[in-house]
């Protein structure tokens, strides 16, 4: 039951040259083929065709904030099977700046990454990193941390930078409110995000090769979320993100907002849940119908010596591993586990930064392998069994299953054993 939705530029937006028109619409920037849908949950496995490669979903996208995945070469990342990674518009817009990246043939050329790139809008970092930011209808105003100059990040500016970066998927500038905030500010932010979406769509200079995703806002308020979904799904965008979550809200609220969003999002477009990357969250949110995920956690935690394993995590720097001659995960096939023991990595942490790179490689491999296994089980119609086995391995006993996960899975017909 595969369905394909091709997305191209509107014909009249192109030049008068017929052959050019044809060439561009043939190379449409995004198509989604649903390979399999889980008969029990809302999970699906898709092939997401993007300008630089096909992406198998569900997919975890590692974050390469400043045009690099910390300590890892692009060949290593590609070697792990990564088909899409992130760059941050705020950081890259500051250093080295959009002009320079444009000269380097975009972020792909600048970092020499051959696969797909997704860039955020820059708005989230501005609100989270820069103290002096003020949100008005024009955009987000902030003081540059480098020269103190006041800068306005408008929807147009964000898209202009992302056009320079040349990412395969761009994110709209949204009005981000902390997920723990309630009241009229949430509603204002939701409406503003819709208005800003329209401005972003109008500002996109490269609709033929850069996909712009809308971001669903509305905080933890179901009515506001629904309203936002209703409005945004009327726009002709190639994909949707679920935003404003993973910001310290209760997990009970989190999963309800996720499942409400996927209930209202069109089946034929990709759904990207922003900022989610813990293994349990990934598996549950795939069951709730999400296709794409990103998070700095797996790579950041790696640099502190925390290796992800099917039973949670393993703190390589802890003394208990000083004489442990097993690999991090005996069943893992990543370059780190194929060659090195916990004891060697433990000792190497005292001697060289390469120790961090080893764990980073392992953690990216863990995330990508997890998602490949999830996909495989969806394709083979055994995703419910996969979830059972996954949870059993992750937690010492069923009474330690987080209640939100149990509830979320129950809502999609999975009763954890």
């Amino acid at each position: 039951m595969a369905s394909t939705i091709e997305r191209g530029a509107p014909p009249n937006a192109l030049g008068s040259n017929m052959s050019l028109k044809k060439a561009l619409s043939a190379a449409s920037p995004l198509s989604l083929r649903i390979v399999a849908e889980c008969p029990v949950t809302k999970a699906r496995a898709c092939d997401l065709i993007l300008p630089h490669a096909a992406v198998s979903t569900p997919v975890f996208m590692p974050v390469g904030t400043q045009g690099t995945l910390k300590g890892i070469t692009v060949d290593q990342l590609e070697g792990l099977g990564c088909q899409i990674c992130l760059g941050n518009t705020y950081h890259l817009g500051m250093r080295p700046g959009p002009d320079l990246i444009e000269k380097a043939s975009g972020l792909h050329g600048f970092m020499n990454w051959k696969k797909n790139l997704l860039t955020d809008s820059g708005g989230f970092q501005m609100v989270s990193l820069v103290e002096l930011s003020e949100v008005t209808e024009d955009g987000v105003k902030f003081k540059s941390p480098y020269d103190g100059k006041e800068i306005l990040l408008s929807p147009e500016k964000s898209i202009s930078i992302q056009n320079s970066l040349g990412s395969d998927i761009m994110m709209q500038l949204d009005d981000v409110v902390s997920s723990t905030v309630t009241g009229p500010r949430v509603e204002e932010a939701m409406h503003r995000s819709i208005r800003w979406l329209d401005r972003c769509i109008a500002a996109n200079k490269n609709p033929d090769r850069q996909n712009l995703f809308a971001i669903i806002q509305g905080g933890l308020n179901a009515e506001l979320r629904k309203k936002c979904l209703e409005e945004m799904t009327q726009r002709d965008v190639p994909g949707f993100a679920i935003g404003g979550l993973s910001g310290g809200e209760e997990k009970d609220d989190f999963w309800r907002m996720v499942t409400l969003s996927t209930d209202h999002l069109p089946r034929e477009k990709p759904r990207y849940l922003m900022g989610v990357g813990y293994a349990v969250d990934l598996v549950v949110c795939v069951a709730l119908g999400c296709d794409m995920f990103d998070c700095v956690f797996p790579t950041r935690t790696a640099r502190f010596g925390s290796a992800l394993v099917p039973w949670g995590s393993l703190q390589v720097k802890h003394k208990q591993y000083a004489k442990d001659l097993q690999p991090i995960d005996p069943d893992c096939h990543c370059p780190t586990c194929r060659r090195h023991s916990r004891a060697y990595l433990h000792a190497l942490f005292k001697n060289d930064t390469a120790a961090m790179h080893h764990i980073t490689i392992h953690n990216i491999s863990y995330q990508l392998t997890l998602m490949r296994s999830v996909r495989q089980s969806i394709v083979e119609k055994r995703f419910p069994e996969f979830i059972q086995a996954f949870m059993k391995r992750m937690f010492p006993s069923p009474d330690q299953y987080p209640s939100w996960a149990v509830d979320a899975l129950t809502s999609v017909n999975i009763k954890l054993e």
Binding site: Q66, G67, T68, L69, K70, G71, I72, T73, V74, D75, Q76, G79, H91, R95, P96, L100, K103, A104, F110, M111, N112, A322, K323, L325, P335, T336, R339, H340, S341, A343, Y344, A347, L348, K350, N351, D352, T353, A354, A355, M356, H357, H358, I361
Partner: protein
């Protein structure tokens, strides 16, 4: 004495220029070889700094001998004892000869802790005092193919007295005898080689005494200690090394410790040195710089442009040495200074420079990335900067040694010397 298959085959010895040859039969199984003049692979605990095996093996023709230092391994004796199969296997190194030195050549070692019977090394957990017995117990767990004998090398400070230098020679010989006694009586050292350490500071007669006495012992080769950067100027260093190597047998390798700058390498090869520790590319990496000196000695400038190890349009890239910011936390003063052999990629002029670090360089970094990207990684303190610079600097340094051997073989040492030392415009060099 355990039998070893190591054999030095000299193909050319040019007086005052250097020795060209191959060390064959290396390793306990004897299947490795190493061309001389050459350098070892510098590591931190068996890992080339910043690199994983994947990134390391983007380079071809890596040295067949990997250097590890006792200072970093000593505190891990317990786990190595339990492991039983030696450090090489513990570190996930497979196909390499393992050489264990006492100290890290890129790290300064506090003085004042040696005694008649002991030498101290500094690991991440602090000082570890070694007697010859403890030293040998450690080597037994490490299972190196070559190892530096325990030595008192505390003579590199400029105000070291003659009496102290004499003591260092005496102690080092005594340590060597003790090590050799254990070495020849232990099954575990079958096929392994001890390198005897020549001390003597800056005193010629002590240098000669140390060389002669060490040469009488059944050692596999020689470490020339106490010549490191900061200890003496190159003229004195060359003079002393010349005198020392005349006392050493022709058929055994001479490894010079703590010297790595290309001009100094050339001078020391001329004085009879065969092997160097490759810590210099690491130091260059730590200050955010890329090696870019020329070592092109091909006769035809046209052909030169396409040769993989050729360096074009270098001279205008070289920066005036300035004090570079130091990333490493443990370097000897005077070694962190930028040299004239490198370019400082943090400099703003590289911000929009879309050329590879060195035109024509075949390393992973130069094949895939531009100066502007490296500049960006450095100003944003990204870890990948160290990875890419270490790859390039290691490859460039290996290329230099390869050119050095070619120059020895084809009588072009003078040309190489001019290239390496050249500043300003260079004939035959293209500018873009």
């Amino acid at each position: 004495m355990a039998g070893s298959k190591m054999k030095l085959e000299l193909s050319r010895v040019v007086q005052g220029k250097g020795r060209l040859g191959v060390l064959k039969g290396l390793g306990r199984t004897g299947q490795h070889s190493l061309k001389i003049p050459g350098c070892l692979l510098y590591t931190h605990f068996g890992s080339v700094p910043h690199l994983t095996q994947d990134t390391l093996h983007t380079m071809r023709d890596l040295p067949s001998v990997t250097q590890v230092t006792l200072s970093t391994i000593a505190e891990h004796q317990e786990v190595l004892e339990e492991f039983k199969d030696g450090f090489r296997k513990f570190a996930g190194l497979h196909d390499t000869v393992l050489y264990c030195s006492l100290h890290d050549p890129a790290t300064s070692c506090p003085t004042g802790h040696t005694t008649n019977k002991t030498v101290s090394v500094w690991g991440s957990g602090g000082r570890i005092e070694l007697t010859a017995a403890k030293f040998m117990a450690l080597q037994r767990t490490i299972q190196p193919d070559w190892y530096q004998s325990m030595a008192d090398g505390e003579t590199w400070l400029s105000d070291t007295s003659r009496k102290r230098v004499r003591k260092s020679v005496d102690r080092t010989l005594a340590h060597l005898d003790e090590c050799l006694l254990v070495h020849k009586n232990s099954q575990e050292f079958e096929g392994a080689e001890i390198l005897g350490v020549v001390e003597g500071g800056d005193i010629l007669e002590e240098r000669l005494r140390s060389a002669r006495e060490t040469a009488k012992r059944p050692v596999g080769g020689f470490c020339l200690d106490g010549f490191q950067a900061g200890s003496m100027d190159q003229a004195l260093r060359t003079q002393l090394i010349n005198a020392v190597t005349k006392e050493l047998p022709e058929d055994k390798p001479r490894l010079l410790q703590g010297v790595g700058q290309p001009d100094e390498v050339l001078a020391c090869v001329g004085a009879g040195v065969d092997l160097f520790e490759a810590f210099f590319p690491f130091q260059v990496t730590e200050r955010g710089c890329a090696l870019c000196f020329s070592f092109d000695i091909s006769p035809d400038p046209e052909r030169a442009g396409s040769a993989p190890s050729t360096v074009l349009e270098l001279e205008q890239e070289r920066d005036a040495p300035v004090e570079a910011q130091q990333n490493g936390d443990n370097m000897v003063d005077g070694q962190t200074q930028m040299t004239s052999f490198e370019m400082n990629l943090k400099d703003k002029r590289y911000q929009d420079d879309f050329r590879p670090l060195v035109e024509g360089c075949g390393c992973y970094c130069c094949r895939n990335h531009k100066r502007a990207y490296l500049h960006h990684l450095l100003v944003t303190n990204e870890l990948l900067a160290g990875v890419l610079l270490m790859i390039h600097n290691t490859a460039h340094y290996q290329g230099f040694f390869s050119a050095l051997r070619e120059a020895l073989a084809t009588d072009k040492l003078d040309l190489l010397q001019r290239r390496v030392l050249s500043k300003g415009d260079r004939p035959g060099g293209k500018s873009e």
